[in-house]
Amino acid sequence: MASPPTELTALLARWRSGDRSAERELFDAIYPVLRGIAQARLRRLSTDLTLSATEIVNETYERLLGSRRIEYRDRTHFFAMAARAIRHFVIDQLRTRGRDKRGGGQPFVRLSELDQAEPAGGDSIDLRVDWLAVHAAIEALEQVDAGCSRLVELKFFSGLTVEEIAESCGVSRATVVRDWRFAKAWLAQHLQALN
């Protein structure tokens, strides 16, 4: 059941103020709704339909909070939490489809090649990447540095810009840039070691 908007805004506020227990509750409130929307999108038949994280998150936002105006900061936090939900959705999808074997490619792409990034096989999830490995890496990272793992999660699953990530983590833009540089290198190493 969807939480009423006020409860959700209260949860966001608690999470923003550093209440870790709100995190789980927030995830539990967001995930089922987001999963429903994403699955409906996968089922729905139509041309030029895009399954983009941004759209799914926006629709989830609409569903949960409607046209209520909430604080910009809370909005960013919402999107950050939705990134976690997206991550779990992607992983669940892949496992359901029996694609949980290792060995896909690295999740990096040259900036110059980004435009021609057409996914292979017309799938909603970019299968050129071994997402399960990325997922495992994020979990490993969580054990040693929660901040870094959150950053990686946001980079892959949120569609948020650097500024928005900074906002939702409560750090400066410069910190995000610096931490991401490290996280990227670490991730590349970690994924290489897995193969």
Binding site: L45, T47, T50, S124, R128, E164, F182, A188
Partner: protein, 854 residues
């Protein structure tokens, strides 16, 4: 990998990443405790880093993909008299197909809109029925008309609509290289169609190029009333409210601000839409670009940022010459954030376009100056209130504008940007919110901060220095939390060394006002140590003094403030010095001297900032307190009245400042014995402090303490108990045990328990907590109320066991209390205590009562 190793790696990586290979080697050589394993990992990471330069990540899901369409295969299928040919598109609720009817050798092409069978929920159906009804009603040469409607066998409703074989108006204008007049005439035809809809109480709500098509003959047609909204609640047999709850099917790049905000949709929404069409016709660019923006960013820009005039957005290879100023103004007026600020109707817009075409003066020019300099003026209750806000805003704004004396080009640019941002913020003021309330300085700077974040064209340097400047202003406005939030997202790298120093100083002061003294102390120590010149040291010396003062080290503070050079410091710093010195003197009960300093300060501030400035407000407040403590209520009252009036004009009646002025009024009303009136003032202050800062906060702690005191005077002890409790619980969370306020609150409560409630045991318990703090922090023993604490402790002993020894100890404490204190409230409290003890047969020794309070 253990966490410690990981963190070590991370720090080393960060330190090494930007170094040259030689520097890296030197650095690593110096890390002798580094294991071979970690060393190798580090090298691998740095190697990866090099390989990953210029590389980004693939997102898990943001790529477009295609799926087969249920209706796409319908080609050849017949619907009524029509044969489906191909699909034209599909949208939120259905698909549109091209179909033909052949009759008497003449082929008629139509568009058929079919609702997806899987989308046949009540809301979509209601919306579809509404659109059909709307189209049935709207017959106009420039609106694509509805020809027929019905239901398919599977129950899907459909509508047959005139087929427009054309291209979006903007594409048409560009491809045919239409000149300005041709473009305007085309738009006038669209205005005509929209005005027709408005006369029929319909708002289109989704005016964008792809909904305004021009066919091969140059005829323009308005399509897609899919999200149109009737302005009446009952439309034919359809209850409009039902569809209003439907999801927002918005085209984000063309939606008006009120559509995002969920505010009332009126015909002004279409004026905005027409304005965005005009804008794009004038410069080949939409007012807000969707490129590189997330939906959230776009929404924020649409709601908060004014687009530049089309003439400035025009690309070099635009298909049209630069539009004249009048057309810029007409477009921008349509695109104003507030519906009420746009043209009052589509007809008015059309009329202004005709004015331009006929060479008459355009309406858009009128009022544009006012609008630009703060449209505010015409919209607010009184011009006086406006000028007060502007003065208030500029007074604080000048904190940074004044620094532009060393006018390098860059700094001038920032001053311009700041001025621009302030004006933008005033312009985006929403007069409908919270009644006709005037914009407070706080709100203005919240808006300015928002603008700084949202404006994409600011350089990182400008953004950083503006954010730091606003953080400072927030602090001056008594908003430490907001200031800290801004500082947290400050990109310090982008600041000059001097600005970085200032930003750190602001942070130290923010920490101080949050009673985070240890953190503040660290920053101040490094600020003092790193100051490059005696001048640069001064702000840190003042911060250092302030910190001592905050922590109750009054004597140290006086020594430090007297060591600050008085020569060669700028006016502002000199005022900071005077102010702090006066406060220190006040804390030492040297009130006449303090008042002299305050008078000097007031004169300096009035000279520099004018009679109405936040700084003057602060000084007046200090003076009121000093006069009250001296017992000069009649001198305090006019100062306080001036203060209240200033607070209302500069901030507003819900501001923290206004609350504080109310609390000051409470003070002398209390001493005059007007407790009810005092209570009323203090409750208003309490509500304001709670609303603005939440719990816990120092102002709220003080306010509860005041309320508790007032309730005891009125003998409303249950209320007093409650407020003492809240005062202490707030105080415990914001102040350290060494704090004088916390000490005072505890002992105040103890006095209350002992005297009013006759609960000596509980009183003793509370007092003991305070007395223990005083043993740990001896400076607390210099507070007058410490003597009352000792007295209550003895009284507790005596009440439990009225032995001779306890009685003697009590009388001794009483004598000392009488000899020890001079303050007005101290004497009053002690006097009450004496009366109370008298009823129990306890009296001080006669020698001690000579010159006693009663």
């Amino acid at each position: 990998m253990p966490q410690a190793t990981f963190q070590r790696l991370r720090h080393l990586f960060n330190a090494l990443a930007d170094l040259t290979p030689e520097e890296r080697e030197a650095f690593l050589a110096a890390q002798q405790d580094l294991g071979a394993d970690t060393r190798r990992q580090l090298q691998q990471l740095l190697q990866s880093d090099e390989q990953l330069a210029g590389v980004t990540v693939r997102s898990a899901m943001n790529t477009a993909y295609q799926l087969a369409d249920a209706h796409a295969g319908r080609s050849g299928e017949r619907i009524g008299a029509y044969t489906l040919r191909r699909q034209l598109g599909s949208g939120g609720m259905g698909s549109v197909h091209l179909a033909e009817r052949s009759e008497g050798g003449i082929v008629q092409q139509v568009a058929i809109k079919i609702v997806h069978p899987e989308q046949l929920d009540a809301t979509t159906l209601a919306r579809f029925r509404l659109e059909r009804q709307v189209l049935a009603l709207l017959r106009h040469p420039h609106i694509a008309s509805m020809l027929d409607l019905g239901e398919l066998e599977d129950g899907s409703p459909y509508a047959v609509i005139e087929f427009v074989d054309g291209v979006p108006i903007t594409v048409h204008a560009r491809e045919k290289r239409l000149d300005l007049r041709q473009r305007l005439h085309l738009l006038l035809a669209v205005c005509d169609a929209v005005a027709h809809a408005h006369r029929n109480m319909i708002v289109h709500r989704d005016l964008k190029p792809s909904n305004v098509l021009v066919d091969a003959d140059g005829h323009v047609k308005l399509l897609d009333f899919g999200i149109a909204k009737p302005l009446i609640s009952q439309f034919g047999a359809i209850d409009v409210e039902q569809t209003a709850t439907a999801q927002r099917f918005l085209s984000p790049s063309h939606a008006a601000p009120e559509q995002f905000k969920g505010e009332a949709i009126t015909t002004a929404c279409d004026v905005y839409g027409l304005g965005s069409l005009l804008y794009e016709l004038l410069c080949d660019q939409p007012p807000f670009s969707t490129a590189d923006r997330t939906p959230g960013q776009l929404e924020r820009e649409i709601c908060e940022v004014d687009p530049p005039p089309p003439s400035r957005r025009r690309a070099a290879d635009a298909s049209i010459e630069a539009p004249p100023r009048d057309l810029d103004l007409i477009a921008l007026r349509c695109l104003r954030k507030q519906p009420a600020d746009r043209y009052s109707s589509v007809e008015a817009l059309a009329q202004d376009l005709r004015n331009y075409l006929a060479g008459r003066p355009v309406e858009a020019r009128r009022g544009s100056f006012l609008y630009r300099t703060g449209r505010f003026v015409s919209r607010h209750r009184s011009a006086v209130a406006l000028s007060a806000v502007i003065v208030g805003v500029t007074a604080v704004g000048f904190l940074l504008l004044a620094q532009q004396n060393r006018a390098t080009t860059e700094q001038r640019l920032r001053a311009d940007e700041m001025t621009g941002l302030i004006i933008d913020a005033l312009r985006s003021a929403d007069p409908s919110r919270k009644g006709a309330r005037d914009l407070s300085a706080r709100e203005v700077f919240e808006r300015v901060a928002g603008q700084v974040q949202a404006k994409p064209d600011l350089s990182p340097q400008s953004r950083a220095s503006l954010i730091s400047a606003i953080a400072r202003i927030d602090l001056e406005l008594g908003l430490p939390r907001q200031a800290e939030a801004l500082l947290d997202r400050l990109d310090a790298e982008a600041l000059s060394a001097r600005e970085r120093d200032q930003a750190r100083n602001i942070r130290a002061r923010v920490l101080m006002s949050a009673a985070r003294y240890d953190e503040a102390r660290l920053i101040i120590a490094s600020g003092l140590a790193e100051a490059a010149s005696p001048q640069q040291r001064i702000p840190w010396q003042i911060a250092d003094t302030q910190l001592d003062f905050h922590q109750g080290k009054i004597d140290d503070a006086l020594k430090k403030i007297d060591a600050v050079p008085t020569q060669e410091i700028d006016a502002e710093t000199s005022e900071d010095r005077l102010n702090l010195r006066a406060q220190i003197l006040l804390a030492q009960d040297r009130r006449p001297e303090a008042l002299e300093e305050f008078n000097r300060l007031l004169a300096a501030q009035r000279k520099r900032l004018g009679r109405e400035s936040p700084a003057v407000f602060e000084t007046l407040g200090q003076m009121v307190v000093a006069e009250v403590r001296e017992g000069n209520f009649d001198r305090a009252e006019p100062l306080n009245s001036e203060q209240l009036a200033l607070a209302e004009r500069l901030f507003d009646k819900n501001s923290v400042r206004y609350g504080r002025a109310l609390s000051t009024a409470q003070l002398y009303e209390r001493y005059r014995g007007n407790y009810k009136k005092a209570l009323e003032y203090e409750y208003r202050n309490n509500a304001i402090q709670r609303e603005q800062y939440g719990e816990p906060n120092p102002a709220l702690a003080r306010s509860h303490f005041n309320l508790a005191g007032l309730h005891t005077y009125l003998e409303e002890y249950a209320e007093a108990d409650a407020h003492f409790g809240k005062a202490i619980s707030n105080a415990e969370r914001v102040w350290l045990p060494s704090d004088g306020n916390l000490f005072l609150f505890r002992l105040g409560f103890a006095v209350h328990l002992a005297m009013n409630s006759d609960r000596p045991a509980e009183a003793q318990k509370v007092a003991r907590v305070a007395l223990n703090s005083a043993d740990t922090y001896p400076e607390l023993k210099t507070e007058e109320i410490y003597l009352l604490g000792l007295l209550i402790d003895r009284y507790g002993d005596y009440s439990r066991d009225p032995s001779k020894a306890n009685r003697a100890a009590l009388i001794k404490a009483l004598d000392e209390a009488i000899a020890g204190g001079k303050g007005i409230s101290y004497k009053r409290t002690l006097g009450d205590f004496l009366l109370k003890l008298k009823t129990k047969g306890i009296e001080p020794t006669p020698a001690a009562t000579a010159g006693s309070p009663d």
